[in-house]
Symmetry: C2
Subunit: 266 residues, 2 copies
Amino acid sequence: MLGRERLKRLAALKEKKYRRRYGRFLVEGPHLIQELAMSDWPVEWLLLTPDRAKDPALRQARRKLEGRGASVALLSEADMARLSEVATSQGVVAVCPLPDRSWSQKQLASWRRVLLLDGLGDPGNVGAIIRTAAWFGWDAVLLGPGSADPYNPKAVRASMGGLFFVPVYEVSLEEALEALLTHDVALWAAVAEGGRPLGEGVPVPERVALLIGSEAAGIRPQWLKRAHARVCIPRLGRGVESLNAAVAAGILLAYLSGLGPKTSAG
Amino acid sequence: MLGRERLKRLAALKEKKYRRRYGRFLVEGPHLIQELAMSDWPVEWLLLTPDRAKDPALRQARRKLEGRGASVALLSEADMARLSEVATSQGVVAVCPLPDRSWSQKQLASWRRVLLLDGLGDPGNVGAIIRTAAWFGWDAVLLGPGSADPYNPKAVRASMGGLFFVPVYEVSLEEALEALLTHDVALWAAVAEGGRPLGEGVPVPERVALLIGSEAAGIRPQWLKRAHARVCIPRLGRGVESLNAAVAAGILLAYLSGLGPKTSAG
């Protein structure tokens, strides 16, 4: 069993300050634990309620995680509820180290599809976007200042495991753009209006970085002006002013992943 | 000012049971009120806190709504907080009648793009999907049993006004499919895997109804078997098992709205 002190420290991981201080984050719920087991993400602890420990669906995930060095402990329902971020705990939580990723230009040479987020503050949207980037096999997601912490429990849950399969970096957009542009990656900026409408044969570059801003503020001008192309999702109806950020990102990621018109790159 | 009894009845509109009983729903926040003013949706009451009543940005919306017959009343911050669905009320709420729409085959002849949802229980996703359908100018959104109430405050907020611009019907899927198929509308079913992958030149029919199921359960077999085509969004990465329902719907709606490959309909 875990002691009171350790349990208190783990519960504190729901807050960003303590995630940074202790270098760890929480992964909650059977589905995410199974995704975690399929990934090669390091795991320190697997914590289960006695009921959940009997769940045959989790047995394989547990074996895999133990094989990778995770310790397993049982927690009472009451203790589990203290770690849980949701109203009704699902009885299983993993404690993982934050990734030891420093922004380096080294990986860049092999990247073909990179997503950059400028000021996306909603953790649910950030998680859903990471999920989509993982689905389409993008090479990296770069989070600029003002974006939600991807290790926030809501973001982790919304990523539905995507976080374990696409590398996510928190970056200075200045440095990241500089590096991408030096490596001949085309920079596309998503704008609400006034860009080239997708669907009209906008050719998809061989290597592309897609920059998305917040629903309310869009991309900050200093980054927008560095883009090679401004693209927008054509509005064909009336009334609504914008799309949900995760939905817009999904449409753009799909388009750039080969679901758009087949035209050769210009 | 509104009396205690009326205020209590209005606060009850946060629950579906009372929305049905009183035939009304709430629209909250300045952005949604402005969208409401741009639409032709009937409005009974516009309720403002004294502070918000001074807001110049809302003046035009208020004039429009008064012109359409809405009564205006001031509410104290405390009373407004009782109506609000969010932690920090934004000081403005409208009371609208539920639409008097009965499912009728009459409109069908002019519909070219129709979205059907089977069992989408999350109000945030349902709202975001309505927002996307309005953005792309779809003709109708049909909600089958098990889908979230589109007049739920969370769904209204997530729709960002889309609810006022695309007709939403709660239907029996049996009846709706029967009517659509009789009218020669092609039925596409979105499946997680095993369908024709979008992007490989799947031709878009002239008139199409897109059927989407829940993330967990998918489309029920009795509806799935009636589809002319099963389509899926190709998974190009690894790890994640599905996309967020609103994101997947967005990608499919975009594709069917002309952002996919340009091929003539088969």
